[in-house]
């Protein structure tokens, strides 16, 4: 196995581990943080597989836009309920 393959396998394992972490996180607020971390690792995985275009999209959507939307939606729901 060459260095690239080892790196790819390592990143894939990390992605699988964080994905499990996201599922095991029960609190939605904490989940917004873990899903952001997962998005970042997914972007690194795309980069390791030589897909920089997809990696940029993954950073923008997975690590920034999605957690932000979750946070804002939570703020809106909780603000209305209290």
């Amino acid at each position: 196995m060459d260095a690239t393959a080892i790196l790819q396998a390592f990143v894939l394992l990390l992605v699988a581990a964080t994905a499990t972490g996201v599922i095991l996180t029960r609190d939605p607020l904490a989940q917004a943080i873990t899903v952001s971390f997962f998005g970042l690792l997914l972007a690194i995985a795309f980069l390791a597989f030589q897909a920089p275009d997809v990696a940029l999209s993954a950073i923008a959507v997975g690590a920034v836009a999605l957690p932000l939307m979750i946070l804002l939606a939570l703020a809106k729901i909780r603000g209305g309920a209290e």
């Binding site: 920089p52 275009d53 940029l56 999209s57 923008a60 920034v64 836009a65 932000l68 703020a75 603000g79």
Partner: protein, 253 residues
């Protein structure tokens, strides 16, 4: 259904899914051994044919430009739907949101966060423009650059410049930018009918591969998508942030 029956059904289904997945995975080509004709042809031909050095942009905005139009309309409809939902809610309340804890002031914004965020606004904006404009040359493009552009006003929000945020992102021009981006995509597509043979035909002069102004409509479509995405995302964020903004600016007085 009893819990025992449910578990049995799940286990049968899960076992079947696992078998199908294993079967499908075993039939995949070897890792890193790409043999599909379409991709190989694109790799060999696309730079000479489209003059875009980023083959991904050549596919999304030239060979498959029509699919991207569909994606852009999905985004347009999503932002429109969210804005519509949130606005209806605001009218229902009729009164502006109330500060539930008037005796407690929001924590003082850290000077370090403030300076860092406000200092980053201009570089991030420039970086977003760079990514949009170089979409046909290097990784990136209208979508990615548009999201980067949209984070610039967001940094102002994190930095605590609420009033500045409202002056930088008033609603009407944002809607104009978003609409112009989405409509611009269709207009550029129609230019293919005018100058070329079909809708989204890349009929503009293509220039030299590697130049910033090259690859015909790919650059133009990237600009349109960048506008639509940046405008749409900022609109979406301001819709969500509206109430928080009202509250915070009031308690700051």
């Amino acid at each position: 259904m009893t819990s025992r029956g449910r578990r049995g059904l799940f286990l049968t289904g899960a076992a079947g899914l696992a078998l199908l997945l294993l079967w499908g995975t075993a039939g995949l080509p070897d890792f890193g051994d790409y043999q599909h004709l379409y991709g190989l042809t694109l790799n060999a031909e696309s730079v000479a044919a489209t003059r875009a050095t980023n083959a991904v942009a050549a596919v999304t905005f030239d060979y498959r430009g029509f699919d991207t139009l569909g994606e852009e309309f999905i985004l347009f409809a999503a932002v429109l739907g969210t804005a519509l939902l949130l606005r209806a809610q605001r009218e229902e309340e009729e009164e502006p949101p109330e500060d539930m804890a008037p005796d407690r002031r929001p924590p003082h914004d850290s000077d370090a966060v403030r300076e860092l965020c406000l200092g980053l606004v201009a570089p991030i904006f420039l970086f977003g423009v760079y990514i949009v404009v170089h979409g046909h040359l290097s990784p990136g493009g209208g979508f990615q650059g548009g999201v980067v552009l949209a984070t610039a006003p967001l940094l102002m929000y994190i930095g605590g410049e609420y009033r500045g945020l409202r002056t930088v992102t008033p609603e009407a021009p944002l809607e104009l930018v978003k609409g112009a981006g989405t409509g611009g995509y269709v207009l550029i597509g129609l230019s293919g009918l005018w100058f070329g043979t079909s809708f989204l035909d890349n009929a503009l002069p293509r220039g030299n591969a590697g130049d910033v102004i090259s690859s015909g409509t790919i650059l133009a479509l990237n600009l349109a998508v960048g506008m639509a995405v940046a405008g749409g995302l900022v609109l979406l964020l301001t819709e969500f942030l509206e109430q928080t903004l009202v509250l915070r600016s009031r308690s700051r007085k």
